[in-house]
Amino acid sequence: MEIHTQTQPIAERERSHSGSRLWAAMVQSKSMYALALPGILYLILFKFVPLWGLLIAFKEYNPFQGFWGSRWIGFTNFSDLFSSEVFYLMLRNTFAINIFSIIFMFPLPILLALMLNEIRHEVFKRINQSIVYLPHFLSWVVVASMTFFMLSTDIGLINKLISGMGFGPVSFLSNPNLFWGLLTAQSMWKEVGWGTIIFLAAMAGVDPQQYEAAVIDGASRMKQIWHVTLPAIRPTIIILLILRLGHMADVGFEQILLMNNPLVNSVSQVFDTYAYTIGVLGGKISVGVTVGTFKGVVGLILVLLSNFIVKKLGQEGIY
């Protein structure tokens, strides 16, 4: 740093030699480049080289001929995709799962955070937080396994209780009408507690004097929440909602893959699961890449749009 600031004015005078100035700065930073090298190579090889593979969407990919040997077919893969029935199924499922999640899942961390924020007993609060944060760290395999032990028809605990009461088993896991609700409930169990953190932090920033003033004005606890706490966290809620809307193309893909079964295929098929089944398992690489590309581009547009809106509102976006 010191050396750098000393060389700067000298370099400034030699404006005509800006190329050599850049070179000098680069040579001076050579050990920094050495430190960054593994990271740069990693990004190039594992994040940017695969982008090349997206071109397969415009090819009739044949694994034996490889990338270069395969024939270019323009937008045929895309027009095939858009004219297929499964495309609209995936579009509907992605949209429906996200709508379920936004309606039922988004408000819950706010509600839970409000409840935790009202707890005065520190130990009770901390124990509660420790418990509700825990499921966030479990793998989807563990969460799905627990779901099976609770809900499956042959070993599920809930079904044992139901049959204990003399009723027939309920097929929670293979009923297409229950599938979206099941996914939402699972996500709730896993993530609602963790989702409170950001709202609790926003609530911690509220000036205590506002509550004191509200109490003097005779506000009840509910009134304090409604007129002090909620307005204080409104910006946070709005920002998170817009960012959440930016992820409308994404669905919990590992979760769906684990909960999927042939009986619920019509409501569980989304872009990523389809890309996986048809591309990796079915060997139709071009179709899989086309689906993935479509989803990636739509997702990118939505994320950029939501960030643009957040920045327009005068907040820091995700980047």
């Binding site: 750098h4 396994s145 109490v215 009840s220």
Partner: protein, 291 residues
């Protein structure tokens, strides 16, 4: 809030405390149930009854599962991937993030732009799969290690942390003749220990929990990691069951074994959980507010 003048508990409080207690129980109940069944003596286990705690405790299910080769193999694979993966992740993430904090380096903006790009766009499942295939890494644990090595979120959070370190110490070391790498090693790394601890946990948990990458990259069952094995034990065998083989090592009721395998798959997470919670309540703030 504690600012309210009265210390008396109101109806509001009773309702609130009760609701939170119910929510906590709903969160913790599946754990207790799975633990309880996994420790139940198989002879005393009655499939259609439910006990909160086993009537007769037993480690039989754990003894059985820890004696099977498939489980031990998967455990070894998972520990291998988690150990090597976490170590490499820390090295690559901290060195790269450190360079990203240095404003005078030509090309820094480009590198930062590349990182942010990976945050918003990913080539997707198949291009990544084809890359692993081309590199001959299918059915190698290195496919898992390499695919989770670092990510934009971690790099940006670590960069944010390193930005917050006081620059005076680095400057002083440079005046004393320390090289760039010397400064990184002797000044930055020791100052970053809290962040390194947090990210060791973060990377270790994500390697341990990886399921999908293992599913697509490892088709050879001998290479499977715990998550893939547990999935096949618990979910795939749901309708036919592992206990239908009839050989005498299958006398244990399958449920106790399946529950024990879940417990073992989440045990390391539960052990490090107190540390995770401490570090990540802060980390999530950095990540979601600042980025």
């Amino acid at each position: 809030m504690s600012y309210v003048a009265t210390k008396k508990l109101t109806v509001f409080d009773y309702v609130n405390y009760s609701l939170l207690a119910v929510i906590s129980i709903a969160c913790v109940f599946p754990f207790i149930y799975v633990f309880s069944v996994s420790f139940t003596d198989p002879a005393a286990y009655v499939p259609l009854q439910f006990y909160l705690f086993p009537e007769k405790w037993s480690l039989a299910a754990y003894k059985y599962i820890l004696s099977t080769n498939s489980f031990l193999n998967a455990l070894k694979s998972t520990v291998y991937v988690t150990g090597i993966g976490t170590a490499l992740s820390i090295i690559i993430s901290f060195t790269f993030a450190y360079v990203l904090t240095k404003k005078h380096i030509p090309g820094r903006k480009l590198m930062l732009g590349a990182v942010v790009f990976t945050l918003v766009f990913n080539a997707g499942i198949l291009p990544n799969y084809l890359l692993m295939k081309e590199m001959g890494l299918l059915n190698s644990h290195w496919s898992l290690i390499l695919s989770g090595l670092t990510n934009a979120w971690s790099l940006l959070v670590i960069k944010g942390f390193l930005d917050s370190l006081p620059p005076e110490l680095e400057d002083a070391a440079r005046i004393d003749g320390c090289s760039d790498i010397g400064v990184f090693w002797r000044i930055v790394i020791p100052l970053s220990m809290p962040a390194i601890a947090a990210f060791v946990l973060f990377f270790a948990v994500s390697y341990w929990n990886t399921y999908f990458n293992a599913l697509i990259y490892l088709s050879d069952a001998k290479k499977w990691t715990l998550q893939v094995l547990v999935k096949s034990l618990v979910i795939d065998s749901d309708s036919n069951g592992v206990g239908t083989g009839g050989s005498d090592d299958r006398v244990l009721p399958q449920e106790t074994i399946r529950m024990a395998s879940i417990v073992l798959a989440m045990l390391p997470i539960l052990i490090v959980y107190p540390f995770l919670q401490k570090h990540f309540a802060k980390g999530v703030m950095l990540g979601s507010v600042k980025g």
